[in-house]
């Protein structure tokens, strides 16, 4: 079957440095011009197109990239990813309203908080495997949400209102409806995340994750400190989720526990699997489509989630490896005749 991923990777591998730079710049230019295409067929009928691009699309892309480190790269099933998103968002909400710090100063704090939470959860949970890990992480996500819901000191069910916007940079002002500026800022964060993941993937950590995903026992026997690298994958995934949370809170300026339900974790997981686990371009594509689609098909208003669910089922039955699956040789068990 024609594999877009292999085709794209083939072009990339055959071309020299200048062509690669050109391709990368072209892709960035296309992504950056997305907010300018609001008048075309891409326009969403009810929600504002520009704001849909920022949330859910850009935020979903960041989160899906983070979750992909955990699920796609190292094969750890995490169903509570929203917890880190919530921790980042609440860090922004609390520090932003109670102290004078601005978004860019809070961003590292939020990331650190999320990483710390990842460590606390990871140390007991990562001893377990498979579905047990899934249910523990799922429980953790619910614990974070219910705690936020029940603690009145951080807003309780009402959440936190009046979160400040990021400060003006280069004379550009972040206002609530300046969606383009937000989008371009988030695009830079996305590019940084992609860069980080790509660098890690080709180094020791990436190889360790790959071996853990393919066969954890074999990896352990070969001397890979699997527990350490699993913690690393978990904490790094958490850091990206925390960053997404801080950005989300600085965009919507209002957060409440309702924003951090299990459904978010599931949706992000769906983005990762739908696009193609383990392949960052697939994951990005999946997040863009699943973030954008429900808003685009709002004309069937009431049934849009129904259609969304049906698309997931259909898609998984027709292409279980996702839209852009990882390269054949990276798959866990190579078929006969392929190395």
């Amino acid at each position: 079957m024609f594999n877009l991923r292999d085709w794209g990777a083939g072009i990339w591998e055959r071309s020299g440095r200048p062509v690669r730079v050109l391709i990368a710049l072209g892709a960035i230019a296309i992504a950056a011009s997305l907010p300018l295409l609001g008048g075309t067929f891409l326009k969403t009928p009810i929600a504002d197109y520009g704001s849909v691009l920022v949330f859910p699309v850009a935020i979903f892309v960041i989160m899906a990239l983070g979750l992909n480190i955990v699920i796609g790269k190292s094969g750890l099933l995490d169903l509570g990813y929203v917890a880190f998103f919530a921790i980042g968002a609440y860090t922004m909400g609390i520090l932003g309203t109670k102290t004078g710090l601005n978004s860019w100063e809070i961003l590292p704090i939020g990331i650190a908080m999320a990483m710390f939470a990842g460590l606390i959860l990871g140390v007991p949970a990562l001893r377990l495997r498979g579905d047990y890990l899934a249910i523990i992480t799922l429980g953790f996500g619910e614990i974070v949400r219910i705690t936020a819901l029940n603690l009145n000191s951080i807003g309780g069910a009402n959440g936190i209102v009046g979160i400040p916007t990021p400060p003006t940079i280069f004379g550009l002002e972040y206002t609530f409806d300046n969606h383009r500026l937000y989008f371009w800022t988030f695009l830079i964060i996305i590019l940084l995340t992609i860069w980080m993941i790509r660098r890690l993937s080709v180094r020791r950590a990436g190889r360790a994750w790959e071996s853990i995903r393919q066969d954890e026992d074999a990896a352990e026997l070969m001397g890979v400190p699997t527990f350490k690298y699993k913690i690393w994958a978990f904490v790094l995934g958490a850091s990206v989720g925390g960053a997404a949370g801080v950005l989300y809170a600085s965009k919507t300026l209002f957060i409440s526990p309702d924003n951090f339900t299990l459904q978010v974790s599931i949706l992000i997981l769906a983005c990762v699997v739908f696009g193609g686990m383990g392949n960052i371009w697939g994951v990005i594509l999946g997040a863009v489509i699943l973030g954008y689609l429900p808003d685009r098909i709002r004309f069937i208003s009431d049934a849009r989630l129904l259609v969304f669910g049906a698309v997931l089922v259909l898609m998984m039955n027709l292409r279980p490896d996702g839209l852009l699956p990882r390269k054949k040789r990276e798959k866990a068990l190579p078929e006969k005749g392929q190395s």
């Binding site: 094969g75 377990l128 705690t147 049934a303 998984m316 039955n317 279980p320």
Partner: protein
């Protein structure tokens, strides 16, 4: 507080047991499918939700009960409740089989990656819940009161309310018949064989597709019974109750050791009691947190599960 608790202990225990049996029956739906296919049947929570609606349809539309009508008594009550139970079980059982046909069979036969069936299940879960949401206009659906919840007397200081008693007795009977079914019948033996070793079972001539359908049917029947009990106890339902109950029941299945029928039983009972006691002390808003913390602690200190396989060895 403590004296108060000791006074109420027996009554709380009865309430906790009846909630526990609801969990046991839903957990059986998860655990049976997991035992055979090593897969979380995520949409089982929606199967449960459809079961609750089947009961309400029977009470409200077949027997024409309204909020004002007189509660039934005696033999008529028994007859109505029995019909509700059968309707809920059938609804969920059939839905469960269809679910497997539509969402899992193709993926299973292709032997694709582990997560694809999970996403497919999530998709089906969204489809089923949304369909019901549109049908019910996003509202809660109350059940007309079909029986008077009178007290049958006390037992060691515990008040035995009629609904709780029915749930505990019927739940126990259903559980016993299920374990007998799995132990003794031909299909039950085939299910156990596939669960132990799929390839060997196939070589021995077990029809895998038939066994899988049978597993989904039995799991669905049990889940549907839980739907009936839920309506009996809480007298309402809505399109989104599946989620909460499903998560709790799945936790129960894990607590006892997933893939193991006895594990689902003990896990469900323990969870039901724990949740009831915890909400007495901390208030209902913290009960889910308590449950999950207990789960984490149990898995941390007993990673081999209480009754199940060695958890640390389970492959992703």
């Amino acid at each position: 507080m403590l004296n108060n608790f000791l006074d109420q202990f027996a009554t709380l225990t009865v309430g906790g047991l009846s909630l526990g049996f609801i969990y046991v029956l839903i957990a059986l739906g998860y655990t049976m499918v997991y035992g055979v296919l090593r897969m979380i049947n995520f949409a089982n929570s929606e199967v449960f939700m459809y079961g609750t609606f089947a009961t309400i349809i029977v009470i409200r539309d077949l027997f024409g009960f309204t909020q004002q009508s007189e509660p039934a008594t005696g033999f008529r009550l028994f007859y109505i409740l029995f019909l509700c139970l059968v309707a809920s079980m059938l609804m969920s059982g059939i839905l469960s089989i269809l679910l497997e046909l539509v969402a899992y069979r193709r993926l299973r036969n292709r032997g694709s990656n582990k997560l694809a069936p999970l996403i497919s299940a999530i998709g089906m879960s969204i489809v089923l819940a949304e369909f019901m949401r549109i049908l019910t206009d996003s509202r809660y659906v109350g059940s007309p009161r079909v029986m008077e919840k009178k007290s049958l007397g006390t037992f060691f200081g515990a008040e035995l309310r009629l609904d709780n008693t029915i749930i505990i007795v019927a739940g126990l009977l259903l559980f016993i018949s299920l374990s007998q079914f799995v132990q003794r019948t031909r299909l039950g033996k085939a299910i156990r064989a596939v669960s132990m070793n799929e390839d060997a079972a196939k070589l021995m001539g077990v029809n895998l597709n038939f066994v899988v359908s049978g597993t989904f049917l039995v799991g669905g029947l049990m889940t549907g019974a839980a739907g009936f009990f839920y309506v009996l106890k809480y007298e309402n339902t809505s399109f989104n109750i599946g989620f909460e109950l499903g998560i709790a029941a799945f936790t129960a299945a894990i607590l006892g050791g997933i893939g193991n029928i006895k594990g689902a039983f003990y896990g469900g009972i323990v969870l039901g009691l724990l949740e009831t006691y915890a909400s007495f002390f901390l208030g209902t808003q913290w009960k889910a947190v308590t449950v999950f913390i207990v789960l984490v602690v149990v898995l941390y200190f007993r990673p081999n599960g209480v009754f199940g396989e060695a958890i640390t060895q389970t492959r992703a």
